[in-house]
Amino acid sequence: MLIQHTSRGLYCPAGDFYIDPWLPVPRAVITHAHGDHARFGCDSYLCAAPGVEPLSLRVEGIIQLIGYGEQISINGVRVSLHPAGHVLGSAQVRVEVKGEVWVVSGDYKREPDPTCAPFEVVSCHTFITESTFGLPVYRWPAGERVITQIYEWWSENAAAGRPSVLLSYVMGKSQRILAMLGEYDELPGPVYAHGALQQMNEAYRRAGIALMDAPNPVSVANNTDVFTTALVLAPPSAQSSSWLKRFKGCAVGRVSGWMRIRGRRRRLALDKGFVMSDHADWPALLTTISETGAERVIATHGNGSALTRFLVEQGVCAEAWTDKEWPEGEEQVQ
């Protein structure tokens, strides 16, 4: 086994390094800067060059950068990183020993995203794929369509004098929305952002990502009247905080793949759910698995056991590592 599951994370014994470890290790290869993949406390980190800005917000220590596709050797193991299309700087990890190739997908999606490089198919013998949304009910509408829905919802609220509060993950999703809204010539009102987003927006800008003109921090508004036509971006945790109270009569929406399921949206007492995810949906999982040409598939996270059972019935050699220990990720919480 080129890569195995251990109590600290995925481990490559031949190269003596870990991929996305959740406990401190000497050498970590990081797929992307989300909290369940990039943990504090390792001695050194390797990541894809475009991911350095967000990663340095999360971790300290030595961060080694390589460009997408650039190959290095770690203790004789050939390692390279390839775009995963998930968030800025996200990477799949390709590991090669004596001609045998394994790829760890990290989180990925196949949909276009203006804030990161598109997913690249990497041929391999064994493909360790995420499967957060590994059921056929998870099928994403086109991102353009969802942005239109957000725009219309916001317009309707603005016309009725209701602030529109939109909850989305701090890293990746929020910037994707900002970048896509930035393509409109005219917007229904001003855009504000929760303080928690400011730092990440800045990191994206430093990395050269064109977000819409600086959304105002909520704290600079001197009068709550300005919110009546505003779109306010905030992290999901803001929903249950007193911070939300300043937006009187607001409508609360949330952007997440989980919003595909009505029960999830209702459980969270949201007015509106927008189905947009930075993860692969069911059709994308199947397409990607087939395109890698992998002889063996290992699924991690979420509904991996359903995905692999389905693959096995299709004649693919597949197994699920979902019963093993994994850190709880942003995507798994809600």
Binding site: R264, F310, E313
Partner: protein, 537 residues
């Protein structure tokens, strides 16, 4: 149909009751009466029988999505709703829906057919083809029921009353009982002439609110009428035009289930409506009948016909406590004590056996005396007191202030989480339905299921625990390592041969998570057996 889909989307897209009400009003204002009648029917949870059933929905979805049946079931388990699962599995498409809602229902859904299963599946797939994602969801919901859009009968009632400028209780009255959504129904429902109470129409029930405070906070005890809170079924018995109607609180006509009550009520004068509790009782303890626990009564429920044997084994009686209509006149507006006096005379006059009795007033000179009596509730097999303001009229629904229920403190036990199952609807993605066990010798045996009592954060924590501590899976159920101890509370406890533990508990719920306890600290079956009441002979 298009307008109904839009209404559904509007109701579903807000969490606020006021906005739901606005959406309903704007729908009722311009909807064709026939469509509106169906909307009322479905949203209050009634559903006509359809030729195509949930079985065909499953078959058609598996076929259309080309997935194996197990994957459909796993998807359903994650979604928690059949109609929604279907709409999420099929490719979305742009479609303009045509045809009215009543056309879809009357000419398609409820039309009788001799088609076989495969033909029905084909028909259903054809219908799905005419609709987009939300249309398919709505159509499939018409087959499977369970809208879960946060619209209660009360909200529908209010929206109708608002739209047609009618008093809320008139609309509530008209919505009770048995009706068909035909041409006449919606006209009657919305008619401005309100003298339409038909012979069998019950009144909306007035409900008591829980009294959380001390009895003494009610003021002078002489201003209050105190009755035992019986553990039976709340019911209205109506005698009009030489006919008897028995309505349960679930707004179900239950006359056939209680022939002895129908016979006894025959002796009531026309124009009489009684409110009371139907209870099972034992004839052997004469001269005074002894009321039996609810699980005895349960044997009589939900049957179309009642056999002689059962009638003999589990006779029922009405413990009447209110008179709503007297001599054909609605007397709900008169004082509680006056209504009770009339009731007493009436019950005395029909003077047959105990089948219709008056629910005795509990007498006490002070709240202290009442408190002492209240403590005997369990031995008497009652749930506590109902306390009524002697001057109060009979209201509608649950309005605080004039009727209180004062229940005995629930029993509590500490039990260990053994199995968990995913919830439905709002909680479909979480393990929220739990089965608990207590010790019998060195084994944990199941004692109760409980669904409620934890807050959202705790539910998520338990959910995580369940996923990480699963021993085995049986379909949607997982057995878990016995680790978590919870305090369960319940209203009553009875012997039961149907339960492995030998006892049945009523309304079990989680009162708190005992993080301070470990499984060995949980209760044993012996200590629970000791809670069994020893009724007075």
């Amino acid at each position: 149909m298009k307008r109904f889909i839009q209404l559904y989307l509007e109701l579903d897209s807000t969490n606020k009751t006021s906005r739901k009400e606005t959406a309903l009003i704007s729908y009722f204002q311009d909807a064709p009466p026939r469509d509106a009648a169906w909307v009322v029917t479905y949203l209050i949870g009634k559903r006509p029988r359809t030729a195509i059933t949930a079985k065909h929905v499953r078959m058609a979805a598996i076929e259309a999505a080309s997935i194996p049946p197990w994957l459909f079931e796993e998807s359903y388990e994650a979604v928690g709703d059949l109609a929604e699962t279907v709409s999420l599995l099929l490719d979305d498409q742009d479609r303009t829906t045509s045809g009215t809602l009543s056309h879809w229902i009357e000419d398609r859904l409820i039309t009788r057919t001799t088609a076989d299963d495969q033909e029905k599946v084909t028909t259903l797939r054809g219908w799905w083809d005419e609709l987009d994602q939300s249309g398919r969801f709505v159509l499939t919901k018409l087959i499977t029921g369970g809208w879960r859009v946060g619209v209660s009968q009360r909200l529908i009632t209010r929206a109708l009353a608002q739209t047609f400028d009618l008093p809320v209780d008139i609309v509530a009255h008209r919505l009770m009982g048995r009706w068909q959504p035909d041409d006449g129904f919606y006209e009657r429902l919305t008619a401005s002439d309100t003298r339409d109470a038909e012979a069998g129409k019950p009144y909306p029930f007035f409900l008591a609110s829980p009294l959380e405070e001390d009895l003494a906070t009610l003021g002078d005890c002489r201003d209050w009428l105190v009755e035992w809170k019986w553990d039976g079924i709340r019911a209205q018995i109506i005698k009009r035009c030489d006919q008897v109607f028995i309505w349960s609180r679930g707004e179900e006509l239950v006359s056939e289930q209680f022939p002895e009550l129908v016979a006894a009520a025959g002796a009531l004068p026309n124009g009489t409506v009684l409110d009371g509790e139907i209870c099972a009782y034992s004839k052997e303890s004469s001269p005074h009948p002894k009321v039996l626990p609810f699980n005895e009564l349960q044997r009589r429920l939900g049957r179309k016909t009642v056999g002689k044997k059962l009638l003999g084994e589990v006779p029922v009686m009405l413990l009447a406590y209110d008179l709503l209509e007297h001599g054909g006149i609605d007397i709900r507006g008169t004082a509680c004590s006056d209504r009770r006096n009339l009731l007493a005379v009436l019950v005395r006059n029909i003077n047959q056996d105990d089948t219709i009795s008056i629910s005795a007033e509990v007498n006490g000179a002070s709240w202290d005396e009442f408190s002492t009596l209240h403590q005997s509730s369990r031995e008497r097999l009652v749930e506590g007191f109902v306390i009524k303001d002697r001057q109060s009229p009979y209201g509608v629904g649950r309005r605080r202030g004039s009727w209180w229920k004062f229940k005995v403190d629930p029993y509590t036990i500490d039990a260990v989480l053994l199995y968990a199952q995913r919830g439905h609807g709002r909680r479909a993605s979480l393990y929220t339905d739990y089965t608990f066990g207590v010790w019998q010798d060195d084994q944990l045996i199941t004692i109760a299921k409980a669904y409620s009592g934890l807050n959202d954060a705790e539910i998520r924590e338990v959910d995580r625990f369940v996923r990480q501590n699963t021993i085995e899976r049986f379909g949607p159920v997982r057995s878990v390592n016995p680790t978590l101890v919870m305090e369960l509370s319940f209203e009553a406890i009875q012997r039961s041969s149907r339960h492995k533990s030998g006892i049945a508990v009523r309304f079990p719920r989680i009162s708190r998570w005992r993080r301070d306890k470990k499984p060995p600290d949980a209760d044993t079956i012996e200590t629970i057996m000791a809670l069994l009441p020893s009724p007075k002979r």
